[in-house]
């Protein structure tokens, strides 16, 4: 009985924290996008939103998945960390490469050339219009 009560409490805490973090992220974003002149600069907000998401990930890992609570060889945690490493190499590595490729291989002239050549109509300049 006590075990299931403990489990119940863990789910409730996890749920309330997750809900709170979601709402904070939502409110921060709506304040920003409702303001015409922008309430605060975009970069700190981006960092704040990503931090909130990672915090919620950790909350759910602890309260929903109970990660780290399994018995001795802790293979779940080990495979989780291994996954993080693979994601780091594959996903962030790809992003790193792609942004540099973009930078090195897509000067503005090439961009406009392609648009003219392919008959792509650009209604509004896609470079930070608002």
């Amino acid at each position: 009985m006590t075990e299931s009560k403990k489990l119940m409490r863990s789910y409730l805490i996890g749920f309330i924290l997750s809900l709170g973090l979601t709402l904070i992220a939502f409110v921060l974003t709506t304040i920003q996008s409702d303001f015409q002149g922008r309430a605060y600069p975009d970069l700190p907000l981006t960092v704040a939103l990503v931090t909130l998401a990672i915090t919620q990930l950790i909350v759910q890992l602890l309260f929903f998945f109970h990660l780290g609570h399994e018995s001795r060889p802790r293979l779940n945690t080990v495979s989780f960390l291994f996954m993080l490493m693979v994601v780091g190499i594959v996903a962030f590595g790809s992003l790193w490469i792609m942004y540099h490729l973009d930078y090195n291989m897509m000067p503005h002239e090439v961009d406009t050339y392609i648009q003219e050549e392919e008959n792509i109509k650009v209604e509004s300049s896609h470079e930070h219009h608002h």
Partner: protein, 197 residues
């Protein structure tokens, strides 16, 4: 003695199955990470079409998010009910999970339908291709999860609470929590950050 030994063997097998399923989830994380990376690279490739800011309705997405988060809680409640042998709570929480999950999926399909109707399908731009692939893959997982839940509930009805059911419900809870975690990142990286661009 032999009864104890059988219990230990069952416990061991249970741990093995959970670990195997967990490893599957980790590989699925890698799949989603690749889709996220693709989206991040292509998100500015709107080809003169709509940007995220002009097509995302944040209030709509917030409701979806809360539905999915609540369904994650009700899955947990099903596990609590299983541990404390509360049959009614078990049925209620499984039912709620299904209703919440199905509502989430219905809202997502409605959103996709709206976009397609306006001519903003996956073929409209690189941004939309990446968007539909990422969010659609998540939605596909949700659909599979709902099917799984239905099959599980059918066998619960037919055979009652068996060892097999316990195992399946534990795996299902892991799967469902995993989908909620992926959604946190879709919510933040695709919708919230998309609304700012």
């Amino acid at each position: 003695m032999s009864h104890d030994a059988a219990a230990v063997k069952h416990e061991e097998e249970f741990t093995k199955t959970t670990l195997g399923f967990w490893v599957y989830l980790m590989t699925d994380c890698v799949l989603f990470a690749c889709l996220f990376a693709t989206y991040a690279v292509l998100r500015n490739g709107t080809a003169g079409g709509p940007t995220g800011a002009s097509i995302f309705d944040l209030n709509f997405i917030l409701v979806e998010t809360i539905l999915l988060l609540t369904s994650s809680l009700t899955t947990g409640l099903a596990l609590v009910a299983l541990k404390s042998k509360q049959k009614k709570l078990l049925w209620a929480s499984l039912g709620l999970t299904f209703v919440l999950g199905a509502s989430f999926l219905a809202m997502e399909l409605y959103e996709f339908g709206q976009l397609l109707h306006e001519g903003y399908g996956p073929q409209a731009s690189a941004f939309l291709t990446a968007y539909f692939t990422l969010v659609g893959t998540h939605g596909f997982h949700i659909a599979i999860g709902l099917l799984w839940l239905l099959v599980m509930v059918y066998f619960l009805y037919k055979r009652g609470v068996t060892k097999g059911f316990e195992k399946r419900l534990t795996m299902f809870a892991l799967f469902w929590h995993f989908l909620d975690v992926i959604w946190i990142f879709i919510f933040t990286l695709v919708y919230l950050l998309g609304a700012l661009s």
